[in-house]
């Protein structure tokens, strides 16, 4: 408490402290691994090798990271306006429908780079549309966006299953999925990018959406810190009463922020749907929307932080999968526990070491 207002240099706040939090998270995870009878150091080695050791491992890591960048940005944009969008999961799911409809419509006629911009727009539009009703309810009726977006996750899931099973399914097939897109409806892999670093991508689905994600990260930065709309969103997010004083329209700002947030979540679908499986399948989002909350939290709602946090979670996802394959004692659930610890220490307990840090820093400065 008493140290909360003492300023610390940025390299401590944004460099040292997150690193320390991460180390503690890994240390505790190590204890858990040791407790179930495995060697923590060997596990760590497997985790790192499994995620960064080979070209295809890196490819998978970056593939996951791409999805997390989109959903992390989605959560962050809403958060800056003081809104907690838990619905990125459902918005991404619907975004998949938008992307798939574009791909199905165009893949026969044009090459991928013509389809791509339409697919980006389609994914964003469908994601945004799915955020619109919760946004409108929040803006006009005061229904809390946390509750409504959770509900819309369920509604979205049901709707998508219905559409896939009854409408989009290929006649005569069992699997609830669309037909496979032709190359004109696929986003190509980034083997050339990997080749720059002398790496082979192999079967990993690392694709052009990664570059779209980076562009979006930059655009979000511009939006939040360089535009009038971003200024209004931040004012509303930090001080609703100052926003009223300043004449910033509450309803309009809330709705726009949520539409952008939903749009970014929707674009996440480009990665798995058009970049990896080349078709729309059930449950392709796979929790990436929720990981986005952790990523945004850990990245302090800043696009750069989000990209870094998304990479970390990409490593945990890919390395974790490899780890549980190699060390059967460490199950999928164990990996989730480790991810939980990272979220706990790097996100929720972000200020745990601050008081100690302040004392240490002041002592050093006095000396």
């Amino acid at each position: 408490m008493s140290t909360a207002s003492v300023p610390l240099p940025n390299w401590i706040t944004y460099g040292l402290m997150p690193l320390l939090n991460l180390l503690v998270a890994f240390f505790i995870s190590g204890l858990v691994v040791w407790w179930i009878g495995e060697d923590p150091l060997a596990a760590l080695k497997l985790l790192i090798e499994g995620s960064l050791g080979r070209g295809d491992a890196i490819g998978f890591t970056l593939f996951y990271a791409t999805s997390f960048i989109f959903t992390g940005l989605s959560v962050a944009v809403a958060f800056h306006a003081g809104l907690f969008n838990i619905g990125s999961e459902g918005q991404a799911y619907l975004g998949g429908l938008g992307a798939a409809l574009v791909a199905l419509a165009l893949d026969r006629y044009v090459p991928w780079y013509v389809t791509m911009p339409f697919a980006v727009i389609g994914a964003a539009l469908f994601g945004a549309a799915w955020a619109f009703i919760p946004a409108w309810l929040q803006a006009k009726r005061g229904s809390h966006v946390v509750i409504t977006t959770i509900m819309f996750n369920f509604i979205g899931a049901a709707l998508m299953v219905y559409l896939l099973v009854n409408v989009l399914i290929v006649p005569g097939k069992m699997a609830p999925e669309t037909r496979t897109f032709l190359p004109g409806g696929q986003l190509p892999k980034l083997d050339w990018l990997m080749a720059w670093f002398g790496l082979k991508l192999g079967p990993a689905p690392f694709n052009v959406s990664f570059l779209i994600a980076l562009v979006m990260a930059f655009l979000v930065w511009v939006l939040i810190w360089r535009t009038k709309l971003g200024y209004e969103m931040r004012t509303l997010g930090i001080s609703p009463s100052a926003a009223i004083y300043a004449g910033i329209p509450y309803g309009r700002t809330v709705i726009i922020a949520m539409l952008i947030s939903g749009g970014l979540a929707g674009m996440m679908a480009l990665n798995p749907v058009m970049g990896a499986s080349a078709r729309l399948q059930v449950e392709f989002v796979g929790g990436a929307g929720f990981v986005g909350i952790a990523v945004s939290l850990m990245g302090r709602s800043h696009p750069l932080g989000i990209v870094l946090a998304a990479l970390l979670f990409g490593i945990l996802y890919q390395g974790g999968a490899d780890l549980s394959f190699e060390m059967p004692n460490i199950t999928r659930e164990m990996i989730v526990v480790i991810q939980g610890l990272v979220i706990l220490f790097a996100g929720a307990l972000e200020y745990m070491f601050r008081p100690a840090m302040v004392h240490l820093y002041q002592r050093l400065k006095r000396a």
């Binding site: 360089r226 009038k228 004083y245 329209p249």
Partner: protein, 503 residues
């Protein structure tokens, strides 16, 4: 009994980055005295007190309590050493009762029930001993600020404070509440407690302190026995030049009616009528002051005119245009500026950097960026200009607003609204927490606005301020305008009207 000073500071030094807030401060506060501390905005008063209270730690120097050096690393140490502090902005839990707030952090044991009955008894004793009566079961949010402040003092006393620090306690109080506070402080002193009082009001210093110390730009420049100094000397010590303690202005030359309020009624969220069928005009080139005890509808009236609160009925006209349902953005576009009463709640986003706040409400102006983008260079250049003109310290547009001293935060708001050169300006408590030099400056700017033909509406709990600035004074009581007076009306007359006694 040895006669060590209650507090002695030796060579206290504190910097925040490039800002040197306290420079080698030496200070002795004798036991059983009331010691005033004055100084310009940003002189380092609050910082120094926060160091004594363990909120900040000094980079160098020593604090001696009762002659013994003490390393105060946090507030707990300070409390244990018998130091209590009432902050400029209260630190109470709004939806707790008085009793719960007093006990918070000093519950005494795991079982609440035992502590509660003991605490209730102790609270009653303190209340009667010091004349600090408040209902122990009232919720904080239902209490007026004056009572909330009593709770803060009770909190400190409950923790058996021997040394009580008050940081600008009278800024939000009505004159009657302030008088009562001073009575309490005298009782405390007579019982052997030590009081440190920070204030910008030299009259208060003269009325109640035994000694007074003056800070300027981080340094302690003088300590005087109050009986041996004068207001003029103190003002000069503080600012480093002679200060005009009166407002100089010529006669008003009122023009056409610019702002007109007709049969305005405003209700609060619970439907209670706060402004009751009020009508008045403000002409170009005049300052209309609204006098009244806080809570008699002035705040709601200001908010209704500023478009923040929708009126229940009635009309507001700006230059002939009806504006009762216009939002603040449109009102600004029409040339109505607003200095809100509460800078922290409305006028500023404390987490923003200074330059971001310097355009709050005007950020859509093409001058600050064409199209959707903000032109940060233009905004910062604009902010620097205002910083220079209003002597906002430190002169750094990139500093987080929360890190400016209270008075400098106020100047940020005042500069923003006045420099827009609006047609009409509505002003709530323009000089709350502002030092005398800056008050002189702000008052001069307000009079200049008048002389340039603007219409100004002023609300202030400082009767002095109302009387010295206004060309006409309306008195509000219980939501109604109960009378109109000229500024030469006596303080007595106005006081009675404000109390609802005479019209």
């Amino acid at each position: 009994m040895s006669q060590h000073p209650a507090i002695e500071l030796v060579g206290i030094d504190k910097s925040f980055g490039a800002v040197h807030a306290n420079k080698n401060i030496n200070l002795k506060v004798e036991k059983g005295t009331i010691h005033g501390i004055i100084g310009e905005n940003g002189a380092g008063k609050s910082t120094l007190m926060s160091i004594i209270y363990g909120f900040y730690q000094a980079d160098r120097g020593e604090i001696r309590i009762d002659g013994k050096p003490l390393d105060i690393r946090d507030s707990q140490t300070a409390i244990a050493a018998g130091i209590g502090m009432v902050h400029q902005h209260f630190m109470l839990v709004e939806n707790f009762t008085v009793l719960e707030n007093v006990m918070l952090g000093a519950e005494g044991g795991q079982l609440l029930a035992k502590g509660v009955s003991g605490a209730r008894k102790e609270l009653k004793r303190l209340e009667t001993d010091y004349g600090l009566d408040v209902d122990p079961d009232a919720l904080i949010e239902d209490l007026p600020v004056g009572k909330q402040q009593r709770v803060e003092i009770l909190k400190a006393l409950y923790r058996s404070a021997d040394i009580l620090i008050l940081d600008e306690p009278t800024g939000v109080l009505t004159p009657a509440e302030a008088d009562h506070l001073f009575k309490v402080l005298k009782v405390l002193r007579d019982q052997g407690k030590t009081v440190i009082l920070i204030t910008h009001k030299l009259r208060e210093i003269m009325a109640i302190t035994d000694e007074v110390s003056v800070m300027r730009r981080g340094e302690m420049v003088a300590t005087r026995k109050t009986a041996e100094t004068t207001v003029e000397e103190l003002a000069e010590l503080m600012v480093g030049r002679r200060v005009l303690l009166r407002v100089e202005k010529g006669a008003a030359k009122p023009g056409k009616v610019l702002l007109s309020v007709k049969n305005l009624t405003v209700k609060d969220a619970r439907g209670v009528t706060m402004v009751d069928n009020v009508s008045f005009d403000v002409r170009e080139g005049e300052i209309v002051g609204i006098a009244g005890v806080a809570g008699n509808g002035q705040s709601e009236l200001l908010e209704a005119i500023a478009g923040i609160r929708k009126p229940a009925s009635g009309e507001i006209l700006l230059d002939g245009q009806p504006i009762a349902n216009a939002d603040p953005a449109r009102l600004r576009a029409l040339g109505l500026a607003h200095i809100p009463e509460d800078r922290h709640h409305m006028g500023l986003v404390l987490k923003f950097e200074e330059y971001e706040n310097s355009v709050l409400g005007y950020h859509r102006d093409p001058r600050y960026g064409r199209g959707a983008l903000l032109d940060l260079k233009a905004i910062q250049a604009d902010a620097v200009e205002k910083i220079e003109k209003y002597d906002i310290r430190p002169p750094n547009p990139r500093l987080k607003t929360a890190n400016f001293s209270g008075g400098n935060q106020q100047k940020i708001v005042v500069a923003r609204e006045i420099e827009r050169d609006p047609k009409a300006l509505i002003i709530g408590q323009p000089t709350r927490g502002v030092d005398i030099g800056a008050i002189e400056f702000i008052h001069r700017r307000i009079v200049e606005m008048r002389d340039a033909g603007k219409a100004l509406l002023l609300v202030s709990v400082e009767l002095d301020e109302i009387r010295s600035l206004s060309d006409r004074i309306l008195v509000m009581f219980a939501g109604k305008v109960v009378g109109e007076k000229t500024p030469d009306a006596g303080e007595q007359t106005l006081g009675l009207m404000m109390a609802g006694i005479a019209a």
